[in-house]
């Protein structure tokens, strides 16, 4: 029992964090390809969860979640979530040939997307590897038509994917089950990182902003609201870690914990983001300030890979 990041995991987080601190720009169009290349080449973020035999680093999807938490914290658009979801779907459902062919490309940083159902697909129009999952199987899709779907949060990119040539490469339900789990805990990790960041922003702002002759962060009513946010943020991180760990180790309670983490972290983030707006006041509703980016991304994360309500309904009691 060691409910904490190992030294290696701490180092991974620190490396990603210091790179992002220098390079992250939440306002880029799509994602920053240069930054993505650095993350893949220098840190190998896309290869963490992929076994060595397929050109990966051979760690686990927990390590990917460690990176996602940092990406969440820096509000930076990135294809990592769709990449790990697709890789895990392939690992769970694809035949050996497809794994051998596709996983090394994902590990090397090619953008991958997984089409699951009729809704828009995460990073669907940016991916060079497109895989679709249905009740009947897992399919590689070549030459699909894609169209970007403009959404409130532009850092989480959605696109419709249709047409193209479909080749069956494995089992549908197994791949889908895995993808949904990994997607849910990936969102939880993004959410818990963003929650911590939003609270930091808010605390920093409230210490600086002076009204009625004192920093607004000294007003007790606001202090207590921020204290409540800290509780939410701390609980989020532990829920996210536990779920990512359980999913990475294929533990018995992985599904339950994934539902717990996705619903708890996204609900918590939604509260924190709303308070971030309110506690920043007027400045929060301008383009120039990041507060609205927090809010929009919180909103988008709440809907990606199943809403809190849906996950709550899936908890088996």
């Amino acid at each position: 029992m060691e409910f904490a990041l190992s030294e290696e995991q701490q180092e991974l987080a620190a490396t990603v964090r210091s790179l992002l601190a220098k390079r992250a720009d939440p306002r880029v169009e799509r994602y920053d390809a240069e930054l993505w290349r650095t993350l893949c080449e220098q840190i190998g973020v896309a290869s963490l969860a992929i076994p060595e035999e397929h050109g990966g680093f051979g760690a686990s999807s927990f390590e990917t979640s460690v990176v996602l938490e940092e990406l969440g914290r820096h509000l930076v658009p990135s294809p990592l979530l769709s990449s790990v979801v697709t890789a895990e779907a392939l690992l769970a459902g694809a035949d050996d040939d497809a794994k051998a062919r596709l996983l090394p490309r994902i590990a090397a940083g090619e953008v991958a997307a997984l089409v699951d159902g009729d809704g828009p697909t995460l990073d669907g129009d940016l991916a060079s590897i497109v895989v679709a999952v249905t009740d009947d199987g897992l399919f590689e899709v070549e030459g699909p038509e894609t169209a970007w779907v403009p959404t409130m949060d532009q850092t989480i990119r959605l696109a419709t994917v249709s047409g193209g040539t479909r080749t069956r490469i494995g089992d549908g339900p197994a791949a889908r089950g895995r993808a949904r789990l990994v997607g849910a805990v990936g969102c939880a990790a993004l959410a818990s990182g963003l929650a911590a960041r939003a609270l930091e922003m808010t605390v920093a702002y409230s210490r600086e902003r002076v009204q009625f002759g004192r920093p607004i962060g000294s007003f007790q009513a606001l202090k207590h609201r921020m204290a409540d946010l800290l509780v939410l943020s701390e609980m989020s991180r532990s829920a996210s870690w536990a779920a990512s760990y359980a999913v990475a180790t294929h533990a018995e309670d992985a599904e339950q914990l994934a539902h717990v983490a996705k619903s708890y972290c996204c609900d918590a983030l939604s509260t924190i983001a709303g308070e971030t707006i309110q506690l920043h006041g007027g400045i929060a509703i301008t383009w120039e300030h990041d507060a609205h980016l927090v809010f929009k991304r919180a909103h988008a994360l709440g809907r990606l890979f199943g809403s809190s309500r849906e996950h709550r309904a899936l908890v088996t009691l």
Partner: protein, 381 residues
């Protein structure tokens, strides 16, 4: 206690309903925070004014109908229920006009009210400053006396000025006595936004439009004729506006009842979130009922010095939180689709600013706690 409408009130309501049904544009107008939309909304104000619906509660001589408070609330209910456009003239007709009626000279009333009623002149409010958001008493923009020209010279910066990007005139407080502290030595000015020395810089908002602007003043001359109330008396003059903005006028229950009805329609179409929908509907009703109580009080007793301001704070806290809850429920019902641009999404980003503008809800809660509940003040530095 009597909740029945009189014959004449019913007739008034029916007339409004009929006219709106025939005249409200079937498609939403473009956003009033774009040049095109601003013009379209001005045109709509013109049509309202032609039929005497733009300022129903004003006297007939200024394009009004001399409508009672009850009639005004009824009109607002009908207005929003009909899905009518937002009021591009609201800063003028809801915030400034009560002050012009109370503190303005006859000359000022005759000069400003008619073009306000027709939408020909649109007014922007210039309250906040970068270092004085909720704390209006700490304003730093100055007015320097110019006896030679018979007026004042304004310098400084205002921000969160709604409509200022396209509006024609502005109103706001400036410190005319540099020695005075906080609430003292402020004067209430009216000024054209194309005056020499005025620069308007739009602020891009969440929805990508420029509903707000910063306004910079560099040696802007304002003649004595455009001072509202007595010099140095600006705080007292302005407070009635603040009470109005927070209170009854700007957020008539009609708006929320109509939004709740739209939410119910959405729910009927798509289902889900029954509890939250009913809850929002119930709260909109509660707000409507509370407003009738306030209307009765205002009509019977008239606004008291503190009473209405503080009751306005109760209103403000309630409607701004209701507005957010209502939109959140709509987005929940829309599910993943909620992320895609829609009228609900626009409404949501607007609702978010509800607890912030027109006196943050924190300020309102202070007012409720101190003026209504009589709780002790804190030292405020």
């Amino acid at each position: 206690m009597n909740l029945d409408l009189s014959e004449s009130e019913l007739a008034f309501r029916d007339e409004a309903r009929t006219w709106l049904a025939a005249n409200v544009p079937p498609e939403p107008l473009p956003s009033m925070d774009t040049a095109e939309g601003f013009a379209a909304h001005q045109e709509w104000e013109r049509r309202l004014a032609d039929a005497r619906w733009s300022v129903v509660s004003w006297p007939r001589e200024y394009h009004g109908r001399g409508a009672s408070l009850v009639e005004w609330v009824l009109f607002e209910e009908e207005y929003y229920r009909a899905g009518s456009p937002g009021r591009v003239s609201q800063n003028g007709i809801f915030l400034l006009s009560p002050i012009l009626f109370e503190h303005g000279t006859k000359e000022q009333q005759d000069r400003f009210l008619p073009s306000m009623a027709t939408g020909e002149q649109i007014w922007a409010q210039c309250w906040s400053e970068p270092e004085a958001g909720s704390d209006l008493a700490s304003l730093r923009s100055t007015a320097r006396r110019d006896d030679e020209r018979g007026g004042w010279v304004l310098n400084g910066q205002k921000t969160w000025s709604s409509r200022a990007t396209y509006a024609h005139w502005g109103f706001g407080l400036f410190r005319s006595d540099p020695e005075a502290q906080r609430h003292h030595g402020l004067t209430y000015f009216l000024f054209p936004l194309d005056a020499d020395g005025v620069t308007v810089r739009p602020i891009a908002q969440l929805d990508g439009e420029a509903g707000f602007a910063e306004v910079f003043f560099e040696d802007v001359f304002v003649p004595d004729a455009d001072v509202l109330g007595a010099p140095g008396d600006g705080w007292r003059v302005a407070m009635s506006t603040a009470g109005n903005e927070r209170g009854l006028s700007l957020r008539s229950p009609g708006r929320f009842c109509a939004a709740a009805d739209r939410l119910v329609d959405l729910h009927r179409e798509r289902g889900g979130f029954d509890d939250a929908v009913v809850d929002a509907w119930i709260k909109a009703q509660a707000y409507r009922l509370y407003t009738w109580g306030t209307v009765t009080k205002l009509r019977d007793g008239g606004p008291t010095s503190d009473g209405v301001g503080a009751a306005g704070s109760v209103n403000k806290v309630f409607w701004s939180e209701l507005d957010i809850a209502l939109h959140e429920t709509a987005l929940d019902i829309l599910g993943p689709e909620a992320e895609v641009e829609s009228r609900w999404l626009d409404g949501y980003t607007f609702a978010l600013s509800g607890p912030i503008y027109a006196g943050t809800n924190e300020i309102q809660r202070n007012i409720v706690a101190e003026r209504i509940l009589g709780l002790p003040r804190e030292g405020r530095g």
